[in-house]
């Protein structure tokens, strides 16, 4: 391998070049991105975390839907007194629609909790333990550090909480009804559910940058989630800006129904707020003292 050197290139790079190594790619705000992103994805996919996450979400999401689609009707054949319950699981809805709505509802509720818990420690832990200072003493940009945390969690949540259980749901529906769901609208619905989870991940990452302890991070994130669920009954206008009815929006998209203005606004506001949270995190982290 022939490597040209330049008199102004520092000694370490010349030494490395002689050994066949080249300077790491990526500069500016992406410096260190590839390395950190590979490490963060590795935390999801190259440790046992993937197995635990897969099991947890398959049991919670697909297990519950399977119980409704197969378990309860089977039990009703053994215990006739359960028959009214089995027939009233999805009142007025075909089973495939009811099962999809049930999946969206549970994934928005439990998935949000999961996403908050999984992401809440990402920044705080690194700041408190000193690993952030260690990493950022290397040629790594602070923006890249935040982006890798956000993207790795967004991908992990997408794969384990949204995509894999969603695909298995399609199989469950097919087994129960022998009907094949249209893939494109289903994926659009799943995408909206993921957007709601992304909103919370983005918010928690931002809060992790803004605060020095887990209390405010979890308090504010859960406050938005649970407080919003209560407040929407009294101030329905908050549905214009917060992802508090994303399961209904997702179901309407799957069914090809037109969305009311409130729901369109909710989707746009969720996406915009997620980006705003990210921008605040990127800006503020530039000034965080490590």
């Amino acid at each position: 391998m022939t490597v040209q050197t330049h008199p102004h290139v520092s000694r370490d790079l010349r030494l490395a070049a002689r050994q066949g190594l080249l300077p790491a790619r990526g500069g500016g705000w992406l410096a260190g991105f590839g390395n950190m992103f590979a490490k963060e994805l590795g935390e999801w996919f190259r440790t046992r975390r993937w197995l635990w996450q897969l099991l947890i979400w398959l049991i919670i999401l697909n297990g519950f839907v399977a119980f409704l689609l197969f378990g309860l009707p089977a039990l009703a054949t053994i215990y006739p007194e359960l028959k009214p319950d089995a027939e009233g699981i999805f009142p007025g809805l075909p089973p495939e629609v009811g099962a999809t709505y049930m999946y969206f509802s549970i994934v928005v509720m439990t998935g949000t909790l999961g996403a908050i818990i999984l992401a809440q420690d990402e920044i705080i832990q690194e700041k408190q333990s000193g690993t952030a200072a260690w990493i950022l003493s290397k040629p790594a940009a602070r923006q890249a550090f935040i982006l890798t945390k956000l993207l790795s969690n967004a991908i992990g949540v997408l794969v384990f909480i949204v995509a894999i259980p969603g695909l298995i749901l399609l199989g469950e529906i097919f087994l129960a009804t022998h009907k094949v769901q249209s893939l494109a609208p289903f994926l659009a619905g799943v995408g909206l559910v993921w957007l709601a989870l992304f909103f919370y991940i983005s918010m928690v990452i931002m809060l992790g940058v803004l605060f020095e302890s887990r209390g405010p991070v979890l308090g504010i994130a859960f406050g938005v989630m649970f407080g919003g669920m209560i407040l929407r009954n009294y101030i329905p206008q908050i549905l214009y800006v917060l992802p508090l009815s994303m399961e209904s929006i997702a179901l309407m998209v799957v069914q090809g129904m037109p969305l009311p203005a409130m729901f369109i606004s909710q989707v746009i506001a969720t996406a915009v707020l997620s980006v705003v949270f990210l921008l605040v995190a990127l800006w503020r982290f530039q000034h965080v003292e490590l």
Binding site: S10, D12, Q19, L21, G32, N35, S137, K138, E289
Partner: protein, 325 residues
């Protein structure tokens, strides 16, 4: 941009103010290429603050600093490409092994064939003597092993500047010996800027020393100069034996009357009397001081020599003076 005048670190009126205290006040430092620069100070003097500003981990409140000709604020990533850093209490991802930590660190600097990166990692592990612990998670490492891993990860890019924050503070004597040996080994390849409060270590390996106290630089000089005496004055250590007090008093009178003698302090121990004579003119003192004493033949000079300070004396004197202001 390249270095100028072989200066690796330059700070100009660097300061850092926290709401509760001024951590650093108008710090002006220069660190020359290939020096081992000891950055001394009591706890809370501002050493770690300075290091963190140099690495871009915190921002200064005022002043500026350059490393290898790059501004520490504007070109921080460029600086970190050519710098290695060991924190005071190094922290890593605890589930990772030493090999994984070093591989991860190396990939911030380089890309290339996996086996070549592995070779670099192996070289670093051997340099710090961790080759038999490569695949153990670092959560099981002792303080000394962590510190050695810290030096390895700081050196993985063969940096032009190695910044070590209290590299031997938490180590036992053997661990300290090992770390200092590694530093001495690295001196021909790199400039080492390290903070410490272990004066013995500084005296052993440093060629230049700066002393920081309460955020202020109170001395910066080559170590030989610092140990020779403070502020350009020179001290002579003289031990005398005399049968009579009068002879001693006469000799003392002759010495203190000289314009080049700043002061003379006396301590007595059994039959011996010890003088410490501070002078301003070394050449004249070398020529005349002993003659002045020996004008009285009844005096017996048991020891005469230029006082060599140890760093602890210099440090305590300078910090004491500063604290009493």
């Amino acid at each position: 941009m390249d270095t100028s005048d072989s200066l690796v670190i330059e700070t100009h009126n660097l300061s850092k103010v926290y709401p509760e205290a001024q951590a650093l006040q108008s710090l002006n430092l220069t660190v020359k290429e290939h020096s081992i620069f000891g950055f001394l100070g009591p706890n809370g003097a501002g050493k770690t603050t300075t290091i963190k500003i140099l690495l871009g981990l915190i921002q200064p409140s005022g002043g500026r600093a350059t490393i290898l000709g790059h501004d520490v604020h504007r070109d921080s990533v460029e600086i970190r490409k050519r710098t290695g850093y060991l924190a005071q209490d190094p922290r890593y991802y605890e589930h990772m092994t030493a090999r994984q930590i070093l591989g991860y660190t190396a990939r911030f600097f380089y890309h290339g064939p996996k086996d070549l990166l592995e070779a670099r990692v192996q070289e670093m592990l051997e340099m710090v003597g961790l080759e038999d612990k490569t695949d153990r998670p670092v959560r099981g490492f002792s303080g000394g092993e962590r510190q050695r891993l810290g030096i390895a990860q700081a050196q993985v890019n063969y940096p032009d500047l190695l910044i070590l924050d209290e590299p031997a503070a938490s180590l036992d004597p053997m661990g300290r010996h090992d770390v200092l040996a590694v530093m001495e080994k690295l001196r021909k390849y790199t400039t080492i800027f390290y903070s410490t409060h272990i004066l013995e270590d500084v005296q052993r390996v440093s060629d230049t020393v700066a002393i920081l106290n309460r955020g202020r630089l109170i001395a910066e000089a080559p170590i030989d100069e610092l140990l020779a005496g403070d502020g350009g004055s020179i001290m002579y250590d003289i031990t005398l034996k005399s049968e009579t007090e009068a002879a001693l008093a006469g000799a003392r009178e002759r010495v203190v009357s000289q314009s080049w003698v700043q002061n003379l302090s006396v301590t007595a121990d059994d039959s011996l009397t010890r003088w410490q004579v501070r002078v301003t003119d070394e050449a004249t003192a070398e020529d005349q001081l002993q003659r002045l004493i020996l004008e009285d033949r009844s005096l017996n000079v048991k020891h005469f020599g230029r006082k060599i300070y140890n760093l602890e004396e210099v440090f305590l004197e300078l910090v004491g003076k500063e604290n009493s202001k």
